[in-house]
């Protein structure tokens, strides 16, 4: 789904991030949630009680739906974190 990136936008340096161990492209300056969406990861987690799939909802750090593990730390809001080179992200199994 890399065609979600808007072509007219100038981006920062191209970097590599790992999602569930699999490498994919991102650009410095992007938020983690945006990079995940562009890489095709819509489902970010499954809820603990009823196993519902969740992804991006409010995009501004209020709703806590977009929780992923970043570099080993669980329950981080993907929309409030910026990608960094070699960042390791864990999302729930699709």
């Amino acid at each position: 789904m890399s065609d979600l990136r808007i072509s007219s936008v100038l981006r920062g340096a191209k970097i590599k991030i790992f999602v569930n161990g699999k490498g994919c492209t991102a650009y410095e300056g992007e938020t983690v949630h945006a990079a995940l969406l562009a890489a095709g990861y819509r489902l970010l987690r499954k809820t603990p009680k009823t196993d519902q799939p969740r992804g991006i909802f409010c995009g501004m750090g209020v709703c806590y739906d977009c929780l992923v593990a970043i570099n080993g730390t669980p329950n981080q809001r993907a929309c409030m974190a910026r990608v960094e080179d070699r960042m390791e992200i864990e999302v729930d199994e699709q």
């Binding site: 603990p48 009680k49 730390t73 669980p74 329950n75």
Partner: protein, 393 residues
Amino acid sequence: MGRTQTDVVIIGAGIIGSSIAYHLARLKLRVILLERCDIASGSSGACDGLVFLQSKKPGINLQLAMESRKRFDLLARQLPVPIEYKATGGMVVIETEAELTAMRQFVAQQRESGLDVTLLDGDQARKIAPHLSEHILGATYSPLDGQVNPMSLTFGFAMGAKALGARVITGAAVRGIDITAGKVSAVETEAGRFETDIVINAAGAHAPEIGALVGLGIPIRPRRGQIIVTEACPPILKHCLISAKYIAAKFNPEIAKTGGDGVSIEQTDSGNFLLGSTREFVGFDKRTTTDGLHRIADKTAGIIPALKQVNVIRAFAGLRPYTPDGLPILGPVDAVPGFFMAAGHEGDGIALSPITGELIAQMIATGKRDISLDDFRLSRFADKGQKIEVSNV
């Protein structure tokens, strides 16, 4: 407003009042449970759910707690709301040599009172609770300790009472209590007047305000306990735990001064950790403080270091009803016939709610009681030289 006649009016729909209402309704008495705000809107909705026997003073307090604990399984089946009671077993973690010495003595006393409790060394403790810090010297363990959801339990009692015919009226602050010919005759509230011969003061930290309505001085003070709530986590803590300092601080004010507050750690059914707690006399201030948050965080993360990574999602403070001798005030008040006390449980309210409800209900319905409540009467403070005024009403 309307006049209503009933057998018993209970003031306060916290855990104690709701339990009494339930037990009275089971005995077929007509009950009105009055609450000035909402069910469990006071300390019963701002506390942890530990049902701990190990923290009770050996003697009447422990005896009462052991009886109370036996009722939880039955209540879990009877009440209309799932109360999440689990006999998880509980640990008292020991961090210093001084605590170890004190706990050895304490365990001996407890076992004498009939409590099933064992002293474990550090390795044994870490075997049953793998996330305990390396510095823990040991722990005492009792399989009888457990935890419950205090809010659910309060709702369970109140809804259970309602289902058995009790009336639960919220938003009904009590304005006055009528005395006729020296006896209780009615309760005046914002929601009407209720005629009754029996009034039960189950208003927790606000019990003195109700007592003042009939000229009684009640030595209950609010003691603030701040609690931290974390996000839900996968189950890592099977046994709820408290620190030895908690027990020491409770019974030895000297240790309380230097050791400060105690520590309690509980992982609820939904996976959240409840981390407590401060013990502060700050009047009715329910705010959480930087210092309180810091102290609780520091101590609990010290005991279970893995908690450092867990997110705190909120914190709250409950005003627990403290009495000078650490025992609740239960039973009839001879100076005001018809007026009963059922308040002052401080941090033991949840654990003692089943037995309190049962004994008070029994006393009122049948005049008998299985366990003597003499040690808990209000007049014990007067006997010890504390003034209790009774003005002419």
